[in-house]
Symmetry: C2
Subunit: 368 residues, 2 copies
């Protein structure tokens, strides 16, 4: 499968919800498949907190394929022989789009803590500008999980005529304090890390010091994404055979796993981006700008397919069900809700996406 | 109610499960009520991670009463007009019993990271030595929640003839990786904190620097103890009215609450104690020393009353139920299990103890 990675540069101002302006800005994105003549085969994929525009395929010499590679590709559920798939790196993220580590044009100085707080609406607005710049004014579908699901939901409310189908997975209409709590550990840990230097860390700090604050934040995230069922099943009480039970820093396998994955994270993810993205997720509220959630959901015209995972303990199935119930109570029939039996907590939208295969295939074939 | 606070000093060696020896050691403890002539009215209370020997009553000028004051006192459930109640500060804790900040007799040097890793069995063994030193060889009841429940359970298995009644609340027979994960955040945060100085912090570091690592660890703990139901209900999405929604470090009420409580914690709790106690809880396994949990539970002779809380997401009700089911399957009839409908997560054993009032009263009156 051919992967095209490109960067789109925008010189027009992006007016943000906060009242601030981002100008200029860039978005890095990938496409898979071929745009058909009438541009009716476009599917947009929205990524989650630590995800990137690299949703599928494998670069030359790349060990691991894109984050949703089992789902997107030739003859896969999102069939790139049929669809033209676009995934852009969210504004604020650290994989190439404009972020806190970008230059504050016309200065050479980087934004760092002067970067504006972004909302999901801002991210979606920039993404839509990208699509428009490609001559795409209507989509077949928008699909995203977690923070990507927030974006999908935001599209459905703010651009009701933009997409035929919208599929938010493992997400919420407004971030509950429970999910905010998980992010606060990360935000505090990064802020308190002396190597963070109040946002003025250097590349050397990142590499040499490892930025333990970000690692710790990632650890809190990993725990929240896995959830109790998954952690208990995956690790049990196995103890590292190299460690002593009565050594203070001797480790259970679960500790070794979390340490390894958490401390690898700062090697490829930027701490300022992490801070800003946590903030974006925390303040997400699909009802903002409307008097209440009902009014926001009333605007939706796309066919909305909500998918939750039974043991997601970050964004609970009840949160998706609430959206469905509100829409149904308003006699809106363009909504469907499905809960998938899962065993991998919030991460299920990534690792158990095969369980949604038939359902999403039918949705795309207009059979549901 | 009269509170007596005393310190017992032991010069005999305490042989620890790790093979190490603690000698000498001290336990600080409180008693409420009066020991009767035949010493048949003794109830032992076991405290949790951050608890202390100060379970009930109020010292002169003390703002807040002991941690289980609503439960223990004159004409309360644990009626001090009738019972002689003892609560000792766990070995390793930072309220006066021997801990990592004690001197390594005969040296003047403090243990710090040379302190031995303790198990629940070790803590219980020391506590039992205290009781014996008071001439008490049999108890009416042992009651404890969370880590205190681990101690209660440990008594039932290791000293089957010691207590008529044993009531473990909100606990487990072996710490699952899920609960271990919550502690690992704390352990890593403390270890990574530069002010921790690899355990060689001074009193000044504690006061001046605030030890953000311990605060962060406490924050992870608070989140785990409250759990999703409680956090969502308590805070909603209320935003601090002094903070801006688009300020990166602007806070939701839940964040303000967690920050306030987490950063207060290092003022009265020692980081090395926290590290060691997390370790003790992590390696708790009631089956250790037996081939399997069944064999351990088979030893129990006391009447065991297991109490769980419906929305405890640190030690799930299923974990208590497992103990009950195993004992029942072995035709042991000295076990009862009750799940209390709760709304405060793991903390319910503290803040919703009134819901257990009638049940525990009946247990103590031999009516169940």
């Amino acid at each position: 499968m051919k992967i095209e990675t490109k960067t789109a540069k925008f010189t027009d101002p992006l007016y943000l919800e906060s009242g601030r302006i981002l100008q200029p800005y860039e978005l890095i994105y990938e496409t898979y498949g071929t745009l058909n003549k009438d541009k009716s085969n476009v599917i947009v994929i929205c990524h989650a907190l630590s995800g990137s525009h690299h949703a599928a395929g494998r670069y030359a010499n790349e060990a691991k394929a894109g984050w949703w590679d089992s789902f997107i590709g030739e003859n896969k559920v999102i069939n790139t022989n049929k669809y033209f798939v676009i995934c852009s790196n969210n504004l604020g993220s650290s994989f190439g789009s404009t972020s806190p580590m970008s230059k504050m044009y016309p200065l050479e100085e980087l934004y760092r803590l002067k970067f504006p707080v972004l909302t999901i609406s801002d991210i979606v607005k920039a993404q839509k500008n990208l699509l428009n710049s490609l001559g795409i004014y209507h989509l077949r579908a928008i699909i995203g999980g977690s923070m990507g699901g927030m974006q999908a939901l935001c599209y459905s409310i703010e651009y009701p005529d933009f997409s035929d189908i919208i599929i938010p997975l493992a997400t919420t209409a407004y971030t509950r304090p429970w999910a905010i709590s998980s992010n606060i550990i990360a935000m505090q840990a990064i802020k308190n890390d002396p190597n963070f230097k109040n946002g003025n860390y250097t590349k050397d700090d990142l590499i040499a010091q490892g930025l333990t604050g970000l690692a710790l934040g990632r650890m809190a995230g990993l725990i929240a994404y896995l959830g109790p069922n998954s952690i208990n099943k995956k690790f049990g009480r196995t103890y590292c055979h190299t460690d002593g039970l009565y050594e203070l820093f001797g480790r259970f396998e679960v500790e070794r796993y979390l340490e390894y994955n958490a401390y690898s994270f700062p090697k490829f993810f930027d701490p300022l981006s992490y801070l800003y993205i946590c903030k974006t997720m925390n303040i997400f509220n699909a009802a903002r700008g409307s008097d209440k959630l009902e009014d926001a959901l009333l605007k939706i015209k796309s066919k909305l397919y909500l998918i939750s995972f039974s043991d997601d303990t970050l964004f609970f199935p009840e949160e998706m069900e609430e959206i469905y119930n509100i829409m149904k109570s308003m006699k809106k029939n363009n909504v469907n809700y499905k809960m998938i039996q899962s065993e991998h907590g919030h991460d299920s939208f990534l690792v158990e996406i095969h369980k949604c295969k038939d359902y999403i295939q039918k949705i795309l074939e207009d059979k549901i």
